[in-house]
Each structure stands twice: as C-alpha cells, then as structure tokens.
C-alpha cells in the first residue's frame, strides 16, 4: 500500500512539472545553427537554410525553405543584408507568430560604406556582414540568442544562459590559443577571393592586401587578375583564401604566377570536411592560414 502510494505521488509530482516545449528555430547559416544548438541543447530543434558549401549571398527562394520556417518560433539571421533573400522566405512561410532576430544588432561593424553605388559592386549598405569570423563577436551573438530563446521559453532561461556561458568560456580559451599561434605572423599579408575575411584579419592582425574579384560580386577579369599577380609578387604574399563555393581558376592562376598557395578555407560550418562545428571550423581556418604564412 505504501509503495503504491509512493508510486502515485511520484507520478503526480512528475505530472505537475510543466512539460518543456521544444523551441523550433530556423537559422539562415549553419554557424548560427551551431550556436543555437549549443545554447539550447535538447530544448531546441534547429534547422538552417544555407549549407556550408553554399554562398549565403545568393540563394534561390525555394518553397522547401518556407516549409522549414513555417513551423518555427524563432528565425535567426546574420543580417546586414547578407541574406537579401530572407524576407521572401519569411513572407512565403506565412508564419504570423515568427520572431525574426537580426544578430548583427550589437556588433561593431566594419567597412560601413560612406557611398552606395552599384559601380562599387555588390556593396552591403550596413557594412561587411562576415562578423562571425571574429570569435570575439561570438559572445555578442550568444547574448542575442540566449535572450530570444529565453523569451520563447522563460522556464529554460537559466539553462540557456549556463550553456552559452560554458561555451563562451571554452571559446575564449581556444581564442587565446589561436591568437598565440598567429602572434608571430602579425602584419603578414594575404589575398582573399571576396571580402569575407575582414573581421578574421582584423582580429589576428593580418593584412588583406587585395581581392581576387575586382569588386564585391564581380567575377575576376584578366586585367584585374594580372594586377593581383603583380600585387602578390611585390608583396611576397603567400596565401590566397578562397571559400569552397568560389571558382578556383583565377586564384590558382595568381598563386601559380606569384608562388603563393591557395587555401580552401571555410566561412561556414560544413564548408569543408574539417569544419564540423564553429570551433573546429575556426581551428581549421587559423591553423591552415598559420601554416601557409610561416
């Protein structure tokens, strides 16, 4: 009898604990999905739209993305006009209760243009949006994610905060390790395909001397390639950073002519095999660049 009573009490106690609802989240990029997964743990269900090997600037608006967003509670985006396609996906999802969170809100922005003109190429009017490649910006991103998740599920706010804090601590330790690795290489020059590495370079004090593309979004031309070869030769530049979704032809031509090396580095989780999550992606990127610049 006593055992039965105890069992009933346990069952009743379990029933009185409010069931934890999973927060459905969609992010634009896999990096943001990684951050949400870390902060939310098993209290969130995360999906992302862009794959790591896709260029997040140019995404065709597919109905399958709208299906993902349709059942989501939160939509996290990099912002700063990186995902110009996002509003069409959001509108197409017809999700009236969706909360859209622009994670760039509190980021210190670089390369904010003073003049907007199509002659300058595909310039982002709010500044360079590739801020997640500086790990010092990750705590800012995590704060926004934790705030949004906590609002969606207030009962789990402490868990989200604790998860994020533990991750930020681990990331800070890795950041110091990466900085130490790159310290002897400060001031070294690199060439990048696109202006994706501005924050990364500013963090590690390396210099982006030029780009393979003449202007943002404009394919390499023979005359510009010749000018970059000249730049690489004169500057003794050893590394050309190219994301997996860009064509290697012009970069390889420059590398061959200037005695440099093309580095297939990733701006997003899943872009290369080694980039399983944000930490492994950054570790791979930093070590690859360091090895080439030595």
């Amino acid at each position: 009898m006593r055992r039965t009573l105890t069992f009933i009490l346990i069952v009743l106690a379990a029933m009185s604990v409010p069931a934890r609802a999973t927060v459905n989240v969609v992010t634009t990029t896999p990096d943001l999905a990684d951050f949400v997964r870390i902060a939310g743990g098993d209290l969130v269900k995360v999906d992302n739209i862009v794959r790591g090997d896709q260029n997040p600037h140019y995404i065709e608006v597919k109905p399958s993305y709208m299906v993902k967003v349709r059942s989501a509670r939160l939509f996290f985006m990099v912002g700063m006009d990186l995902e110009k396609w996002a509003q069409q996906v959001i509108d197409g999802s017809r999700n009236s209760s969706l909360e859209v969170v622009d994670l760039s809100r509190n980021i210190t922005k670089l390369e904010v243009p003073t003049r907007l003109d199509a002659s300058e190429g595909d310039v982002h009017r709010f500044g360079n949006p590739h801020y997640w490649l500086d790990p010092r910006n990750v705590p800012v991103i995590m704060d926004e994610i934790v705030a949004a998740l906590s609002q969606a599920s207030p009962a789990d706010a402490a868990t989200f905060k604790a998860n994020a804090a533990a991750y930020v601590k681990a990331l800070e330790a890795k950041t110091r390790e990466w900085e130490a690795l790159m310290k002897p290489l400060q001031g070294r020059q690199v060439i990048t395909f696109h202006r994706s590495w501005t924050y990364f370079a500013a963090w590690l004090n390396i210099v982006v001397a030029g780009q393979v593309e003449p202007k943002p979004g404009v394919p390499p031309s023979p005359s510009h390639t010749a000018a970059v070869i000249d730049l690489a030769r004169k500057g003794g530049i050893k590394a050309i950073l190219v994301e997996p979704f860009y064509d290697m032809t012009a970069a390889e031509q420059i590398a061959k002519a200037a005695g440099a090396k093309v580095l297939r580095v990733s701006t997003s989780v899943g872009g290369v095999e080694q980039a399983r999550d944000y930490l492994s992606m950054m570790d791979y990127n930093v070590r690859t660049v360091a090895a080439a610049l030595k």
């Binding site: 065709e60 608006v61 109905p63 399958s64 299906v67 069409q88 509108d91 017809r94 979004g217």
Partner: protein, 379 residues
C-alpha cells in the same frame, strides 16, 4: 498676420515638409527599371513572293518596365509595374502592366490575398515577366492561347498552403474580370451586357530531389467566356513542371515544360470570322486542342548558359492549324543579372488549314539590363 506669425508659420510648414520628406524617404518603394532591346532578322516577310531571304536586321525596343514595390505595412505589400511597349517605343504610351496589393499575413488559415491587376498563377511561365525568360521568343502555346499579354487581368486571388507536412503544396484560386481571352482573340466586348467573370486556379507541389535538385509540379485550370457575343465558354487545363539541378554555385540545369489542353464551343473564330460547314451554313463547333513547350537551360559557367526549346501548339479554334518549332539560345550575364545578352535562333513551321505550310527562321540578339534593386529569384 504679423511678420513674426508669418515667419513661424513658414518654419512650421518647413518642419512639416521636412518631416514628411523624411517619412517618405523611409518608406519609399524599391524602384527598378528594366529595358529589353532586340536586334533581329527573319525570313518570313518574303515567303509570299516565293523567296526565302533574311530581312535587314532591325533594332527594336521590346519594352521598358518600371517596377515599384514595397511593403505598405507589416501585413501587406504592393507591386506596380508600368510598361512602355515596343516596337515604336517613342510613340507608345505608358501602360499599366500590373498593380496589385498582397495581404501577406494576419488572415485566417494563413491565407494570402491578392487584389488588382496581375499575372494570374496559371502554369509556371505565366507568372514570369519576359525579361526573366532564358530565351527571347514567347512559346507558341502561350502566344496562341493567351496572346502577348498572357493571362493578366483584374481580379482577386486567394492562396493557401496545404497541410502536407514537409512537402510544400499550395492552392491558389482567382476570380478575374475575364477579358484576357476575348482580348487575345480580338473579340473585344462591344455589347452592353455585363459578362460573366472568369475563374482560374492552380495546385502545386514542391519536392526536393536530393541535396542539389528540386522539382515543382502543378496543375491549373481556367474557365470563362471566350466570345462575349455568343456567351460561349472555354476551359483551359494545364500541367506544368520545373526541375532544377544545381551541382555547384556556377552550374545549374533547368528543365521546364507545360502542356495546355483547351475545350470550347464556338460559332466564330478570331476576329469574328464565322465558322461554316461544307455547304457554307453557319456552324457551331466543339473544339478540343492543345499545345506544349519544353525547354532546358544549362548554366555551364557563372556567366554563360545555353539551352533549347521545343514548341508545338494547335490553335484555340482548330486542330488543323498547328505550329511546330524549336529554338536554341545562349545567354551571357557578365555581372550577376544586372546585364544580360541573349542570342536565339528559332525555326517555326505553321500549318494553316487549306493553305501552305510556312516555316520561318528567326535570329535575335536581346539585351536586358536592370537598373535598381532586384529580388532573389523564386524557384
């Protein structure tokens, strides 16, 4: 009024005007201007003289579109497309191609409601403006069954996403003024009687096929009065599909096709020519006819694409009058889609009942440029 009061009033007006200007700036619509220019030659003009000779290449402004688009409020957006149509663009007057309001959210069942003048969702091609096509010439089936203006009418539409789980499917229904088909046939309504509305609808589904490919398939129907003088009805049934395979950022293959099936009763053909039987007596005909197009477009480098299209179409009024043709086309887009150059060769053979078959060859070079922002492409 004292000079001081006048000055205060002027300052107030200036402040109000500045405020209004600022408010206007913050809610200005996105404006794009998209001209289409064409240089073309064909060998059709001299066929009546028994000769086959390409004409002197002719420069032609096909159209200039001005697009104004933006959100009206958090629930709705508006799109207005004004067009100057060629070929005599200097003498053309600005026409309204589309002007519609779309309520995006806030309605029961997550309905989207569109009202105004717009290209109805009938098939896949009808929603696309010609500058979005990978080719220059209009597919014969669309030209013959809808005319150059396509299914673009005043009306109201409602669409709902169906509860099909991870598969995106959508049902759209339209109630339309019903003038597209009579106008395309040259049967403009001069009767004083009010005509019945037309109705159309489309059911579509979207199916991812692996990581790099997607398939969209749809069926559409459209019905209304095609002859305002007799009140005769028509039914159009349409099946469409689009397949896209994108193995990398720089390469993609699009295969798209549509089949249209038409049924109608008619006592006269286009331009009020009455049908007569073998003895010359007036005749009412039951007509079933159809047409199709199928194209493939292969983007083989970031800036280059090439493709081909097959056309076959009967007439809305006859199965004896058929057009069959093919075209090959090549596209060059040097910087995204701000500038596009398209080269097309088309061979189109038309079999006219009781007449001689005519085969016309067309070669055209089209330039399209887009001034202003352009949205990401829908699938």
């Amino acid at each position: 009024m004292t000079s001081q009061a006048q000055r205060a009033l002027a300052v107030l007006l200036l402040c109000a005007a500045t405020g209004a200007a600022r408010a206007q700036t913050s809610s200005n619509p996105e404006i794009s201007v998209i001209p289409r220019l064409l240089i073309f030659t064909d060998d059709g003009a001299t066929l009546d003289q028994g000769k086959r000779k390409f004409s002197r290449p002719e420069f032609q402004f096909q159209e200039i579109e001005a697009v104004f688009a933006g959100y009206l409020n958090p629930y709705a957006r508006a799109d207005v497309v004004m067009a100057l149509s060629g070929p005599d663009i200097e003498a053309a007057s600005l026409g309204l191609e589309e002007a519609y309001l779309t309520v995006l959210r806030g309605l029961p069942l997550d309905l989207n409601v569109r009202a105004g003048k717009y290209r109805a969702e009938f098939g896949k091609l009808n929603m696309m403006h010609p500058h979005q096509w990978p080719f220059i010439t209009q597919p014969a089936v669309q030209a013959r069954f809808f005319g150059e203006e396509t299914l673009n009418d005043l009306g109201i539409s409602a669409s709902v996403i169906l509860p099909t789980g991870d598969v995106y499917s959508r049902l759209t229904v339209d109630l339309l003024r019903g003038l597209s088909i009579p106008n395309a046939a040259g049967l403009e309504d001069t009767t004083d009687e009010s005509q019945p509305y037309a109705a159309s609808g489309r059911l579509m589904g979207f199916f991812p096929v692996g990581d790099d490919a997607d398939l969209e398939a749809g069926v559409s129907a459209y019905t209304g009065v095609h002859d305002p003088y007799t009140g005769d009805n028509f039914w159009y049934w349409n099946a469409d599909f689009k397949y896209r395979y994108r193995p990398s950022s720089y390469t993609s293959l699009v295969v798209q096709g549509e089949y249209l099936f038409n049924t109608r009763e008619a006592v006269q053909g286009p331009d009020l020519v009455p049908f007569v039987d073998d003895r010359g007596n007036p005749e009412r005909r039951s007509i079933t006819s159809g047409g199709l197009y199928l194209y493939a477009d292969w983007q083989f480098l970031k800036v280059f694409s090439a493709g081909g299209r097959f056309d076959w179409s009967q007439s809305p009024y006859s199965t004896d009058d058929a057009a069959t043709g093919f075209s090959v086309f090549f596209g060059y887009y040097p910087v995204e889609e701000t500038i596009g150059l398209r080269l097309e060769y088309q061979h189109m053979r038309t079999d006219v009942p009781g007449g001689e078959a005519r085969a016309v060859n067309f070669i055209g070079l089209q330039t399209v440029f887009s001034l202003g922002p352009h949205k990401a492409h829908p699938f």
